[in-house]
């Protein structure tokens, strides 16, 4: 648990540093300190997934004489009841988790885009049918469904698990995409394209899809989180190939060999923490995307600490009145003329409101 706490304590500090340094970044998502934190964590696990074979100190399946040892210099994260090195298992296991997450994410997103965009674009009875299909898949509990499908399959490799997750987990993305396509379809530029005789295919690929990128990305990220959780859950309850190392198999071993009762925390804490970290990182990336899609969620330079220092309390209905030193405001107005201005206007919700009228 100690590791857990330091990680949590570090996150806010990383965040505050980024708000000051990332000001000049062009890439919108990276401007967001939350997304940046997420990207860094994912990059770390991505490196483990790719280079794990060379980074792991031991063969994860190799037995040794150090049975159920706590962390030591030889085994940083200790060993299990067979003397296998836990750290190596975690490093090797990263690959399977990442691959399944990626395949399931791509698959589910593809189905979701196909169903959602089609449904939103064609409208009418076809739309009714497709969105009902999506809603049915949303309401039916996915995990039990995946469990009974995977539980009845004769052999369950990583790719099979990913495929099952993709086939059952596309509905949320489809639902969101349908709503967005529906609203895009009524916009002027799409109407104009249709009036000028553009083909349906071209309207969808050239006019609609580019406007859905952020939502597709966010759906993809959310599906990957779901896939990672599902895959490890399946491995944990014993569905899947026990020779395919992933973080769930480690926990399965720990649970079945009384790691809890023996107090072997090093056996089950790190693996779960890795799952949670990957999930958290992806969720943080999604915060950034959400703020990009829904401007109301954007915290416009709202850094709690600096606001309090300046005596600003951002509230709906009580605009802060702050008389700052005249020198400071003059200096600021000079700065304004130089950089980043498009972005400032873009972020001001008031501007959009005025443009509506």
């Amino acid at each position: 648990m100690a590791i857990d706490l330091t990680l949590l304590a570090d996150t806010p500090d990383v965040a505050t540093d980024d708000t000051t340094t990332s000001g000049k970044q062009r890439f919108v998502f990276l401007r967001n300190s939350k997304s940046l934190t997420g990207f860094v964590i994912i990059a770390f696990f991505g490196i483990l997934a790719i280079f794990g074979q060379w980074l792991a100190p031991y063969d994860p399946g190799a037995l040794s004489a150090d049975l159920l040892q706590g962390p030591s210099s030889a085994h940083w994260l200790g060993t299990n009841q067979l003397g296998q090195d836990i750290l190596s298992q975690i490093i090797i296991g990263a690959r399977s988790v990442m691959i399944v997450g990626l395949i399931a994410g791509v698959g589910a997103t593809a189905i979701g885009v196909l169903v959602g965009v089609t449904s939103g674009y064609i409208g009418g009875i076809g739309d009714e049918g497709l969105s009902m299909l999506a809603n049915i898949f949303l309401v039916i509990p996915q995990l039990p469904l995946i469990i009974i499908i995977a539980g009845q399959l004769p052999s369950v490799g990583g790719v099979t698990v990913a495929a099952v997750i993709a086939v059952t987990g596309w509905a949320w993305g489809a639902r969101v995409l349908r709503a967005q396509t529906l609203s895009l379809r009524r916009r002027d530029f799409v109407e104009a394209a249709r009036a000028s005789g553009e083909s349906t295919w071209r309207i969808i690929t050239a006019e609609i899809m580019p406007n859905l990128t952020a939502i597709i990305a966010s759906g993809f990220v959310a599906t990957v989180v779901f896939a990672v959780l599902t895959q490890t859950t399946l491995a944990f309850i014993g569905i899947g190939d026990p020779n395919d190392w992933n973080w769930g198999t480690i926990l399965f071993g720990a649970q079945n060999n009384q790691a809890l009762q023996r107090g072997a925390w090093w056996w089950f804490v790190p693996a779960g923490l890795c799952i949670a970290l990957v999930g958290m990182a992806l969720t943080l990336i999604n915060f950034g995307i959400d703020e990009f899609v829904n401007p109301r969620l954007r915290s416009v330079g709202m850094n709690a600490r600096s606001l309090r220092k300046r005596g600003i309390r951002p509230r709906i209905g009580f605009t802060p009145v702050v008389y700052e030193a005249p020198g400071a405001s003059a200096r600021k107005s000079e700065l304004v003329t130089q950089s980043e201005l498009i972005d400032v206007t873009e972020r001001a919700p008031h501007q959009t409101k005025e443009n509506r009228s």
Binding site: I148, Q152, L229, I237, F268, G317
Partner: protein, 326 residues
């Protein structure tokens, strides 16, 4: 009324889809692991029950698919889910029905606590945007990504193994005979406390994040500004205007996420060996008890559907736009 009619049609179709899915899954599986098991049971099983199992698991190859489907529906409507392989010759329906109240009690109560708590916390974080409350976000993100079963492992290792405050498995003191006495109910609460709290901790952050985002979105609606312009009390503006509207999408997302949450909480039962449907499903998976697996899935799906209908009624009561009167 149109809203309710549409929803009812939707639920009927969903129930139909769940049963049909259940019908097709064993038929689409490659290989035939079931035949072997059926062979093992030969002689112990009466011909009527064997016929039912053949229909349920798709082994009656001599009939057309349509005939099989009709037969299947007939069995389901009679509540016959076949016999369990593991607990032979107990009927699946009986096993599942024994487990259901425990799941409804544990998962239901824990989910309602988590939803209420998460909504209240999300409401205040969303209202106090740009203050210290924002730092709750990364923490919530972490907890929303924690696998449920891992949290359960941690809870057991800390509160059962190390501190010894709570039992690590079971749903009541095995020395007792189930009855309605205070003593027994107390034991149920004592045994259920740790799994319930784990479910709450694991699922609360999802509700916090959802409600927080809805609060932020709704707070910039004109009617909230109008409420402030009217000089209403802060409590009225937040309660009657902002959160009263933010709760609507929160309730509909409650209905939609229920399937996900229930899936996760069933795993809790496995870790805590809590005698609900999740644990039965776990047993069925580990022992390759196909009829029991199927039965569990069907009952879980129907239970989630019922919860969805309840959520819909709550939504209709909260949003006047669903009751088109005039």
């Amino acid at each position: 009324m149109r809203f309710m009619v549409r929803r009812i049609i939707f639920y009927v179709v969903t129930a139909w889809a769940a049963v049909t899915l259940n019908f097709f899954i064993p038929r689409m599986m490659p290989g035939d692991p079931v035949t072997a098991l059926m062979g093992r049971l030969q002689g112990q099983i009466d011909s009527h029950a064997e016929q039912a199992l053949r229909i349920l698991l798709g082994l009656d190859e001599d009939k057309s698919l349509w005939q099989q489907y009709v037969e299947y529906w007939r069995l389901i409507l009679h509540g016959d889910l076949g016999r369990s392989f593991t607990f032979f010759p107990q009927p699946v329906g009986e096993i599942v029905m024994q487990a259901l109240p425990w799941t409804v009690g544990l998962v239901g109560v824990a989910t309602i606590i988590a939803f209420t708590l998460g909504t209240l916390v999300g409401r205040s974080i969303g209202w106090r945007r740009g203050t210290w409350a924002d730092s709750a976000l990364p923490i919530s993100a972490f907890f929303s990504a924690v696998p449920y079963f891992w949290l359960a492992l941690i809870a057991i290792s800390v509160f059962s193994v190390r501190l010894g405050w709570f039992p690590s498995s079971g749903s009541y003191d095995r020395a007792m005979v189930p009855n309605w006495s205070f003593e027994f109910i107390g034991s149920v609460i004592y045994y259920g406390f740790l799994p319930a709290m784990t479910i709450v901790v694991a699922s609360v952050s999802g509700w916090i994040l959802g409600m927080r985002n809805m609060m932020v979105t709704v707070s910039s609606e004109d009617y909230v500004t109008v409420a402030q312009a009217k000089g209403l009390k802060e409590r009225t503006v937040m309660g009657g205007y902002a959160s009263r509207n933010a709760i609507l999408p929160q309730v509909s997302s409650f209905a939609l996420s229920l399937g996900f949450v229930v899936g996760g909480t069933l795993i809790m039962e496995m870790v805590f060996s809590y005698q609900g449907i999740g644990y039965v499903l776990f047993t069925a998976v580990t022992t390759h008890d196909y009829p029991l697996m199927q039965g569990c899935f069907l009952v879980i799906t129907l239970a989630v559907l019922v919860a969805n209908i309840v959520a819909d009624f709550v939504y209709a009561a909260l949003d006047p736009r669903t009751r088109q009167e005039g």
